[in-house]
């Protein structure tokens, strides 16, 4: 009986089995077939026609990263195209890094100016991976996001660099006419933010503001009044509140604090920097370095608790300080470190600290004038912290790539995007001023770095040419008077002449005589009105 069931060849059993086989095979086909279909990849290999003024046309290979015109150009091809001109440069490209020498004479290694014959890359290839690579640029260490590609025929590496980064390095005038890139080696680079805005340069960013933080002049702004998440750029306000406590004498930089269970718990979470056991002893100064350099969230929490007793009390001080400085309602703090939190509601919302670019500029102006020593910290690339027996590193890549960069703070969350508040010390006829670029909500790090570097380069040239008055179109430009940002600390006696002067100016402004009302033109009331 058992045997007969399985070897039964009745019509019904054959139909069921045949149906089962067909169904399984169909499912198999649906799973396997798509893998044989063409896989279109956006990292295309392309050939660009480059017209070098005075030299002629050259072919330059380039890679479009994710979209058309998201271009990374071959440095070897560009070196040959610009050879013998005022924009020439020499290259040494190896797997571990690139040495770039402006003004040097490049010796071709073969393959320069050739054409990509295959226009899509092998997605599985490890060679076409955009990485942050080490650059030696005229003796200075820099880091750029680039592709390294090894030519199997010549055996040499080529480096594909973001076109904007190369333009900023060369400092020469570049433009597109149709599909041809024009380079004029004799003309210096001229950046026009209005033109950049019109061409969509800032569309991948939520807000941008460039200004002189020493005298409050704003050089350029894009969406300066929209309130956006600020991520770890929050820590600039955290620094101000902590230093207010130091200034008032309630703590000192060498005060030792013990970390709490909350700090330990945060150091175990996904937002951790490094593990901190509760009860660890650490100085206030070390916590500040850990907060500003690697943007450590648990150290920021430890600092907040040491200053105010709890994060809640510290955040209240942050909001009070924002009001005292004169920041708008578009700025609000919920956490000391910029991490998001959930509301305590049945239907929970995820909220983050937020700010406008205008408010961030006011904050930076206040910070630079009140606690200028912050740039000693934010310009440091690495710092050993004895209490944790570890070295922390600065997350701000502008320190490497932008001459004169002195800080200030990066910030990244999913919602906030890539934020960066950066500053350079620019020296001109008016002395040395701090030029600040605020960028909130860039889509990715490359965009963030590209926009900030371009704007800082522009800001440096504006300051050296005389400041905001030298900008031809500066309609609507505001100026924030740094004196307006001074808030006297109750009970404190100014330690020096500059602090005294600020206090006296503030006192005088709050005691200007109120003019008598003009009674001449008040109409007489008619009876019955």
């Amino acid at each position: 009986m058992f045997r007969s069931r399985f070897i039964s060849f009745s019509k019904k059993s054959i139909s069921v089995k045949l149906l089962t086989v067909i169904t399984c095979f169909s499912v198999f086909l649906c799973c396997v077939l798509p893998s044989f279909a063409d896989d279109y990849d956006y990292e295309y290999l392309r050939n660009l026609s480059v017209n070098v003024e005075g030299s002629g046309l050259f072919n330059v290979k380039y890679i479009d990263m994710y979209y058309d015109h998201d271009s990374y150009v071959s440095l070897r091809d560009m070196a040959v195209a610009l050879s013998g001109t005022d924009a020439k440069f020499d290259l040494l490209i190896e797997k571990d890094g690139i040495r770039f020498t402006k003004g040097g004479s490049y010796t071709p290694v073969g393959g320069e100016g050739s054409f990509f014959s295959v226009l899509t890359r092998d997605p599985s290839s490890e060679e076409y991976v955009r990485k942050r690579n080490y650059f030696n640029l005229d003796g200075s260490v820099k880091h750029y996001y680039t592709f390294l590609y090894k030519d199997e025929e010549t055996g040499y590496y080529d480096c594909y660099m973001y076109l904007s980064d190369l333009i900023l390095i060369l400092g020469k005038d570049v433009s597109y006419s149709g599909s041809t890139l024009n380079i004029d080696p004799s003309a210096p680079l001229s950046i026009d933010p209005d033109h950049l805005e019109d061409s969509g340069f800032f569309l991948a960013t939520n807000a941008v503001l460039l200004g002189d933080a020493t005298n409050g002049e704003i050089y350029y702004s894009y969406n300066p009044d929209i309130s956006v998440p600020m991520a770890s750029t929050t820590k600039l306000m955290s620094y101000i509140v902590a230093m207010d406590a130091v200034s008032s004498g309630s703590i000192t930089l060498s005060s030792v604090t013990e970390t709490s269970e909350n700090v330990q718990k945060l150091s175990h979470s996904i937002d951790r920097g490094f593990y901190i056991k509760s009860g660890s002893k650490v100085t206030i100064e070390e916590l500040i370095y850990a907060m500003l350099l690697p943007s450590n969230n648990e150290c920021t929490l430890a600092l907040a608790e040491a200053v105010a007793g709890s994060e809640e009390a510290f955040v209240k001080r942050m909001n009070d300080k924002a009001a005292a400085i004169g920041l708008s309602e578009g700025t609000e703090f919920f956490t000391c470190n910029g991490l998001p939190v959930y509301t305590e509601e049945a239907f929970r919302g995820k909220i983050q600290n937020h700010i406008t670019a205008n408010d961030m500029f006011k904050l930076v102006c206040y910070l630079i004038s009140t606690y200028p020593q912050i740039t000693d910290i934010t310009s440091t690339t690495a710092k050993y912290l004895p209490s944790f027996d570890r070295t922390v590193y600065n997350t701000n890549s502008m320190l490497y790539n932008v001459p004169g960069c002195i800080g200030l703070k990066t910030g990244t969350t999913n919602k906030a995007g890539c934020c960066l508040v950066s500053a350079i010390a620019s020296t001109g006829d008016n002395g040395t001023h701090t030029i600040c670029c605020i960028e909130l909500g860039a889509e990715d790090i490359v965009t963030r770095n590209n926009v900030t570097q371009t704007m800082l380069s522009y800001g440096d040239s504006v300051f050296k040419n005389g400041g905001a008055s030298s900008i031809q179109t500066s309609e609507g430009a505001e100026t924030i008077d740094p004196e307006d940002l001074y808030i006297p600390v109750t009970g404190s006696v100014p330690e020096n002449a500059d602090e005294l002067a600020r206090l006296i100016v503030w006192t005088a402004k709050n005691h200007m005589p109120i003019p008598e009302p003009d009674l001449v033109n008040i109409p007489e009331e008619e009876p019955g009105d």
């Binding site: 002449a497 100016v505 006192t507």
Partner: protein
């Protein structure tokens, strides 16, 4: 005739005696007798305005504003006395009562600079002091709860060297010797030789001695390690006290 000859003889002898006496006196005065008009007590004043202005400008630390800060013409001086005795001893020292007066003058001078500095800062901030209803001193009083002078005394720079420092610099005593118009003073193993003269109520040191003057005095001229450095520029005048 005999009477007339005797008279002439007496006249000649008399005139001869007068000339010899006069010549002798002149010779004595020139070769043996010395001018002691330098003996006694003298004093000079040291101008300390430069100290005060320099300290205040450094304290302002604002090159843009401080360049235009004006100080009033309050004098700040300290008296130094010099006593030369007939026993060949000298004493030079700070007059302590003048130091106290100098401190008060220095504070007044510094205050004038501070007012001018704050004036400039208010001007830079767009505040017209003439339309403000309070003077700068009143603003300081209101803001700090103390007078501007008290604030400077507490937080301002040290305007003058301390009395002890001044004593270390200026208090010297020792011996001296005079040869003609050269005076050598010796103190603590060091010496200085200076040419001088006395005129009316002034004792004036004009320059360091030339070597030949120094060589004729009892103490030899050695190298610079044994030179007593005087804190003034030549010529320097002392007043008779």
């Amino acid at each position: 005739m005999k009477k007339k000859n005797r008279f002439l003889t007496f006249m000649v002898i008399f005139l001869l005696l007068v000339i010899l006496t006069g010549g002798g006196l002149l010779a004595y005065k020139y070769y043996f007798a010395s001018d002691t008009s330098y003996l006694g007590s003298w004093s000079r004043e040291i101008d300390m305005r430069g100290y005060v202005i320099e300290d205040m400008n450094a304290w302002f630390a604002d090159p843009t504003t401080a360049a235009n800060v004006e100080f009033d013409d309050t004098k700040v001086t300290i008296k130094v006395t010099l006593a030369l005795t007939s026993e060949g001893k000298f004493t030079e020292k700070i007059d302590e009562s003048s130091f106290e007066e100098a401190k008060a003058s220095a504070s007044a001078l510094a205050l004038s600079g501070l007012i001018s500095f704050l004036d400039k800062r208010l001007e830079n901030a767009g505040i017209d002091k003439d339309s403000a209803d309070k003077s700068i001193e009143e603003l300081i009083e209101e803001a700090l709860g103390m007078s501007a002078s008290d604030y400077l005394a507490e937080k301002g720079p040290a305007l003058l060297p301390t009395l002890d420092a001044l004593k270390d610099m200026y208090n010297i005593s020792g011996t001296y010797e005079v040869k003609g118009n050269a005076m050598r003073r010796i103190s603590g193993g060091k010496s200085v030789c200076e040419t001088f003269f006395v005129k009316d109520d002034y004792l004036i040191f004009t320059s360091p001695c030339e070597d030949n003057f120094g060589a004729t005095l009892s103490a030899p001229i050695d190298n610079s390690d044994t030179v007593l450095k005087m804190l003034y520029d030549y010529p320097v005048a002392y007043n008779k006290q």
